[in-house]
């Protein structure tokens, strides 16, 4: 194929976009609506995933020090814990602090037990990766001066399995949605091309090769995809940016949860939307034209 023919194909694809007015509009709006849906759901799902991560990362091991341990032993224990394999963070809380906390939740009457505090000096330990929590707990249990380790085995495992299940459901939903979006967009493009099957047949009868007919359609599909992605990208970006500013401060104040920061996230999601638009547009055109080239 000569180079100038490629130029002709690009020009032809633009002309076709313009002249198929209604059909172009139908395709572009199908792409727009579908990608908007995808964008909104992906944004929500990925943030829920982030929240689940945050939750998971917040799982702690509670280490009770022996009652007889003195200041020095406690310092040694803290040192040992923090150098244990897989430990990310250790926070110490004396039994007096623990009583204050308890009183806060249970009622002021507990303050009365100050002189006869039944509680332990406690270390709150966070594992580097949530899944390691149990292993870390086991390692710490073997250290000196440790009375008892509470890894919340049941709770931790339950939480992990719940999060895993919901993450998988989310993934399935997103994949289902992506698949649906692909199907709907290529379906729409296909119908608009079916409506032009006679054109394709005539071109073939006049001596056009398959690629000569196909290439303008492929370019056209690409423009459709790009045009359809513009609005979703704009809307998702604006909406996310504003929602982020609105909610993140409040969420961040918990110290645990936060939303995905707009900067890399919006780039990723916009790239996804644009890529989907283009890939489906091109692929949809390619597949649909194929059917009618056998004249």
């Amino acid at each position: 194929m000569k180079f100038r023919t490629m130029g002709r194909h690009v020009k032809e694809s633009f002309r076709s976009i313009g002249r198929n007015g209604w059909m172009t509009f139908a395709s572009v709006s199908a792409v727009t609506v579908t990608l908007l849906l995808v964008g909104v759901f992906v944004a929500i799902m990925m943030n829920l995933n982030k929240l689940a991560d945050d939750l998971e990362n917040n799982v702690e091991v509670k280490v009770y020090a022996e009652l007889i341990a003195d200041e020095e032993q406690l310092a040694t224990l803290e040192e040992e814990i923090s150098t244990t394999l897989g430990v990310q963070e250790v926070v110490y809380s004396s039994k007096e602090q623990e009583l204050v906390k308890l009183a806060e939740t249970m009622g002021q009457e507990f303050q009365l037990y100050e002189q006869d505090n039944p509680l332990f000096n406690t270390f709150y330990v966070k594992a580097a990766t949530p899944k390691e929590t149990l292993a870390v707990a086991a390692r710490i249990a073997k250290l000196d001066s440790v009375e008892r380790v509470e890894d919340g085995r049941a709770q931790v495992q339950k939480l992990f399995s719940v999060l895993d299940v919901s993450r998988n459901i989310g993934l399935v939903l997103i994949l289902g949605l992506l698949f649906t979006a692909m199907f709907l967009i290529s379906n729409t493009i296909r119908i608009t091309i079916v409506a032009r099957r006679r054109d394709i047949e005539i071109m073939k009868l006049v001596g056009a090769t398959n690629w000569f007919i196909r290439i303008p359609f492929i370019f056209e599909g690409m423009w459709l995809g790009i045009m359809g992605a513009i609005l979703p990208i704009t809307l998702v970006s604006i909406a996310y940016y504003n929602l982020f500013n609105l909610f993140n401060v409040e969420l961040a104040s918990t110290g645990i949860y936060s939303l995905l920061t707009p900067m890399p996230f919006l780039l990723q999601i916009n790239a996804l939307l644009l890529a989907m638009g283009i890939v489906i547009g091109v692929w949809g055109s390619f597949m649909s034209v194929r059917k009618f080239l056998k004249v």
């Binding site: 000569k2 076709s16 005539i202 009868l205 006049v206």
Partner: protein, 228 residues
Amino acid sequence: MIQMKDVYKKYPNGIVAANGITVDIKQGEFVYVVGPSGAGKSTFIKMMYREEKPTSGDIIINGMNLAKIKAKKVPLLRRQIGVVFQDFKLLPRMNVYENVAFALEVIEESPKVIRKRVMEVLDLVGLKHKARMFPTELSGGEQQRISIARSIVNRPKLVIADEPTGNLDPDTSWEIMNIFQEINSRGTTIIMATHNKEIVNTLKHRVIAVEGGMIARDEAEGDYGYEI
């Protein structure tokens, strides 16, 4: 140039539109194909540029055997043949200029040559001033002339015309015939299905009469026949 041997065509609905056609057309000939409505003229013609495949039999055009030719080679075959379709087959979303130019674009002519040749040929059929109009804005006869223009624009060695004057008044018909005569005299083979008795009887050429899918008559310098 064209050899058909025992060509037989049965459409999926069971109608046999070519029932053992054997014919030999030489380079440079001018052939009228006549016969009653539904006789199989269009089918006979469509098999030459492979719009229809014969059910059996051999068709050899310019040395290519259409029964064995690969799908990829079909466009090459069609580029050597200019076709005037009975139903015009203009592209509705392209204007007159683009419709005619399309036949040159597929052979990747340079834009300069395309512009020159398209305007020339539109002038020849008397529609240069309607180059920017769309087929839906043309009268029946004008559409037919665009189809004729497209068939000759790439100067093919073979022009196949299916009732090219069906929608034209006698004057315009004669102008078109003059064009065909002219390109025929330059060596182009012309095969033309027609119902126009006056033309066939006036401008004498070989006449092939098709009836019920068979060649009923094949005369050099024949006339239309079928007297009322």
